[in-house]
């Protein structure tokens, strides 16, 4: 039987020539990731297993990004527990404040992900690395613990949905609009338990950063993973950061897909997901006057340099609306530094925004931008569930960096093409 891209990667890591959808397999892991929220639970579980070493000091990775720099004493204790564990087990890739970034921006940037890898992370947005042609998926803390101890994880081989991309995106439209458009079409469980595989001539017109954003939100459609076919751009991105061998897989021509969608990139418009599900998408012809209180530009979804730059170009020589707070969060130290060097931070501060050190903080209602009762935010983050960013009656509207920047200026949800 023929296989999808995902199935080929899984087969190769399970030591099998072939796998098929529904089969339960045990796979070898190239990387096991956790953050300051999920790792403490994993460490407690790891300690119950009774092994004294992690399976590979180079492959276990921990990033202190969710409630770090520590938001309170309990958060500080959680980071301390991770720090001590990584010191004790001599974990190479432990990223603490000052060296850390938001995990899913940091790992690709540091060259820790190569196409063909199998990666698990105790964070649902681990699916981001499919943009580089890897199989990567979110798991819980117990899976992380077992992964750290054995270097293995069990999986049910997923079936897949194929997205054939064609055409090119228009100005002000980016990867965020593509994935919101797709989730709006298939729903928050439209790809439940499945792979989302992105192929077609349109792929090469998307930057790696657009692809990272698209795969990042595959989980928001319920998917196990999102994955792009590897092209020259992928290879160039990885080669700049890693010496490891690049293994790229293409689906068999006769691979079976549950569904096939053709997506014309040139037809996609700026898209906003309304509360309280990422599938509640609207385009500007359906969006009226919606006043906002806050804008957040950052997160594992849209905190890359390209995202920050896109927002800066719109905010340049402008001021944000009087009643809006705008919080800009470059996802890694390198991105932050580049934003300073290239004058973007000055643009933001001149416009009336704040610029924060990397953290997941506001995205999940942790800190650094919590919403009060009834407040509304436009955010480039990934979830708009009830209470996600603060009070249970607050509202989050998900959008691209361009829409978020335009909205900050207008004081209401605004189309960047009309600012």
């Amino acid at each position: 039987m023929s296989m999808t891209m995902t199935q080929k990667i899984l087969a190769s890591h399970a030591g099998l020539d072939k796998v098929e959808a529904g089969q339960l397999i045990l796979v070898n892991l190239d990387r096991v990731l956790g953050n300051d929220i999920t790792s403490p639970v994993a460490i407690k579980e790891f300690n119950k297993i009774g092994v004294d070493k992690v399976y590979d000091k180079e492959k276990v990775t921990m990033v202190m990004d969710h409630f770090a720099p520590n938001k309170d004493i309990k958060a500080a204790e959680q980071c301390k527990m991770c720090r001590e564990f990584c010191n004790d087990k001599e974990v190479t890739h432990f990223y603490d404040v000052g060296r850390m970034g938001i995990e899913h921006a940091l790992l690709p940037e540091k060259g820790l992900i190569v196409s063909g890898d199998v990666v698990i992370g105790a964070d649902s947005h681990t699916c981001t690395y499919g943009a580089l042609g890897a199989f990567s998926t979110g798991v819980g803390s117990t899976d992380m613990a077992c992964g750290m101890a054995t270097g293995k994880a069990w999986f049910k081989v997923p079936s897949a949905i194929k997205f054939v991309l064609k055409g090119k995106l228009n100005k002000y439209v980016s990867g965020k609009d593509v994935i919101l458009h797709i989730i709006g079409k298939i729903g928050v469980d439209g790809a439940l338990y499945k792979s989302m595989e992105f192929v077609g001539e349109g792929v090469s017109s998307l930057t790696i950063y657009d692809r990272l954003t698209i795969c990042n939100m595959a989980i928001e459609a319920g998917a196990k993973n999102g994955i792009f076919e590897v092209d020259e751009e992928t290879i160039a991105y990885i080669k700049e950061r890693s010496d490891r061998e690049i293994v790229s897989y293409k689906a068999d021509e006769d691979a079976v897909y549950d569904e096939v969608y053709e997506i014309d990139l040139s037809a996609i418009k700026s898209t906003v997901a309304f509360p309280h599900l990422p599938e509640n998408t609207k385009t500007f012809d359906e969006i009226g006057d919606i006043k906002i209180d806050q804008v957040v530009i950052g997160s594992c979804t849209n905190g890359q340099y390209k995202d920050i730059e896109e927002a800066a170009m719109i905010l340049k020589d402008r001021k944000i609306a009087k009643n809006v707070r705008a919080i800009i969060i470059p996802a890694t130290q390198d991105i932050y530094l580049k934003a300073i060097e290239n004058g973007l931070v000055k643009i933001f501060i001149d416009a009336g925004c704040v610029v924060s050190t990397p953290t997941c903080g506001p995205c999940l209602g942790g800190y650094m931008g919590i919403l009060a009762a009834g407040e509304r935010a436009v955010a480039t983050t990934n979830r708009n569930f009830v209470g996600r960013m603060g009070h249970v009656t607050s509202e989050v509207y998900l959008a691209s960096p361009a829409v978020a920047a335009a909205s900050a200026i207008a004081g209401k949800i605004a189309d960047p093409a009309k600012i």
Binding site: S124, A145, K152, L192
Partner: protein, 164 residues
């Protein structure tokens, strides 16, 4: 494994942010997590839940974050079993890995109301609504997963060397 309990029922897309809001993720203490379980969806949950109760919900239960704190909070609050139309995939594996019993059965969900008394037989995939007298059949777990559950979770399976 068999369970009998009173039903607490919710709708579709119950996400992990309402099961346990992120503002409480600065701890991994099971009791503390349980004390905030379902808070943003149902303020009265912690008052009305009793040990052994069965949670019933619609599509895509547990969608969103990978936080294992979500099934931990549900289990520690006393819920013995969650029955849903479908589960989000990370919640599904987290539940198995920590030993929270779950079953997918849309027919049962459609025919069980909040407050009903329900009996479930996990090994055979049988759900019996004691209040209405209706019985439903669903697919039991594959053997591989049953073994993890019987062992008491993934950690115990590893300790037995069954995953090497």
């Amino acid at each position: 494994m068999k369970f009998t309990g009173k039903v607490i029922k919710y709708g579709d897309n119950v996400d992990t942010d309402v099961i346990i809001p992120a503002r409480y993720l600065n701890t991994s203490d099971h009791k503390e997590l349980a004390s905030h379980c379902m808070e943003d969806l149902d303020k009265d949950f912690t008052k009305r839940v009793e040990v052994g109760d069965i949670m019933v919900a619609g599509d895509n239960f547990g969608c969103g974050s990978s936080r294992e704190h979500a099934p931990i909070a549900i289990k520690a609050s006393g819920i013995s079993l969650v029955i849903a139309n479908t589960f989000a995939r990370i919640f599904y594996r987290n539940s198995i890995n920590i030993g929270l019993a779950i079953l997918e059965c849309p027919e049962a969900v459609a025919n069980i109301n909040d407050g009903d008394k329900v009996e479930a037989d996990l090994d055979n995939g049988i759900i019996y609504n004691l209040t209405t007298g209706k019985e439903f059949k669903t697919q039991p777990f594959p053997e591989f997963i049953q073994k993890i559950i019987t062992n008491g979770g993934l950690i115990e399976s590893i300790k037995k060397g069954e995953l090497n």
